[in-house]
Every structure is written in structure tokens, then in C-alpha cells.
Symmetry: C2
Amino acid sequence: MPNLVEICLKKNIKLTNHRKIIAQIISESTDHPDVEELYRKAYFMNPKIGIATVYRAVKMFEDLGLIARHDFLGKGKSRYEVLEDDHHDHLIDITNNQVHEFFNAELENLKTKIAHEMGFELIGHKLELYCKPLKK
Amino acid sequence: MPNLVEICLKKNIKLTNHRKIIAQIISESTDHPDVEELYRKAYFMNPKIGIATVYRAVKMFEDLGLIARHDFLGKGKSRYEVLEDDHHDHLIDITNNQVHEFFNAELENLKTKIAHEMGFELIGHKLELYCKPLKK
DNA sequence: CTACATGCAAAAGATTTGCTTTGCG
DNA sequence: CGCAAAGCAAATCTTTTGCATGTAG
């Protein structure tokens, strides 16, 4: 489990107290929280934190490439997760909106191969599988 | 090239004049237009068309499963394309934001297989490759 | 006449920004 | 003191909605 605070320390990214709290909350989350949820938890830790600070912090982390922003199902709301060195994709259970992460090497190779065949170098990628549970 | 107007006729979906214009514009587009672009072109065809009608029309077509909505690069703006029976994915050239479509059977099979292995039935999926051109 | 579509403007929801204040070196 | 960060509220941007009007069958 990657800790955003440690990552920032390692990269010499200075964190203010407010940003440290926000980074910690993102790190501890396993459910791809949105800004509202981050704000609620940050507010609980320190009621002096405003929502604009949360927005500015996630934008900063995103620009630094430390977290990823998602908008599962195109609901128009950004949800965040710490970016680790490895890459993973997302499977969304549409019956309960739960997000499952997975990694598949074959898939990663195929992505790169397809891009190459089309004359491109793969920089980033996003794959979301929308599913419902198999009936037994 | 699929024509949304014809698809609607075939499915007994009644189109008003305004919706017919909007459907036609979507069909003729190859560049995944956003609402603003659709509205501009529709307005050119008939200045009595309001932007709310465009929003209502694309929502209707989307709910009917006739068009797909994308938000490439998470810019917060919806862009549309006619949904054909076949499925394709998107490769976005980040140097000029151009969208290239592609289809890869191996990839499609792999998606289904991964979902199954995780205990799910694949309903929908979205894959976007963000790339830059290979240097020669 | 009835039901649905539409225009317009207002509302809503997410995010950004301007400006002033705060806080830490 | 000096500068970045943060709070707050206003602004912005996309999309939705309420309501009165228009239109087709």
C-alpha cells in the first residue's frame, strides 16, 4: 500500500499540514473517493480545511502524476486513487457501483502493441469494464 | 456509415423535425462532436432549435442505446458518436487531440475473458489509449 | 383536445478563481 | 518581511429543469 505522504517526502515535495492530511486520507482510501468524501474526512480531521483546498490539493497531486482521476460511468464527478508504479485497470460492478481493480499483463502488452501498430507510442491508457456478477 | 435517422425508422422511433436534424448531424460527424458543436450546426440548419433540445435529444439517443457518450481526457465535456453493432475503441493523439478508432478482436476476447475470470459478465467497456506519434 | 416537444431562462452541480488573510520560515 | 497556502465567496462551465407556449395527430 503506497503512502502519498511518503512518496512526497521521497520526491522532495513539500507538504503543508492541510495537504498532508488530504494526502493521508487519499492513501488510506480503498474506494476511489470523490472530492466531497475527501472534504468530509479532511473536515473531520481539521474543520479549518476548506473545500477549495481539497480541490487545489488533488489537482496538484494529479499534475505531479501522483494520483489518478477517474469518472466511472461518466457521472461527472471525479474520483481519485494513488498511482503506484504498476498499472491496473478497473472493473465496475454496475449492480452496486463497486470498483474492482485488476492487472493483466497480456492486456498491457496488447495495448502497447496496438498503439505501435497504429504508429503511436503509448503514453497513458484507461480501461473500464462495466459488468454484472455471473449467475451460478 | 450508419445513419441514425434510418436506425430510428427501423426501430419505430418517431423523430420530430428537430430531432431528425440533430440525428442527421451526429450521423454525418466523424469527429465525436460535443453538444456545443452539434448545437452550432443544428442552429445553422434551423435557428429555432435551442440548446436544451440538443441536450434532450442526445440524452434520448443515449438512453435508447443508439449513441455513445465519451469524455476523452476527462475534460468534463461530453462528446458523441453513433453506436454501430460492432464495437471499437479509441486512440487519442495527445499532441493534437485527434481521436482514432480501432478494433481488435484479440482485445475484445481478452476483456470478456478477464471479466469471466473475475466472476462477472461483461456488459459494457471503455478503452482509451492516450498516445503520441512514433518518431521515425 | 391531448400529449408530447420545445424555447427560454433559471437552477443545479462540480470545479475554478479572485482577493484577502494567514502562517511559516 | 516575504511568499506560498488557504478561506471564502463569487464566478465559470456544463448540463438539467420548470414553466409557459407550440405543434402534430
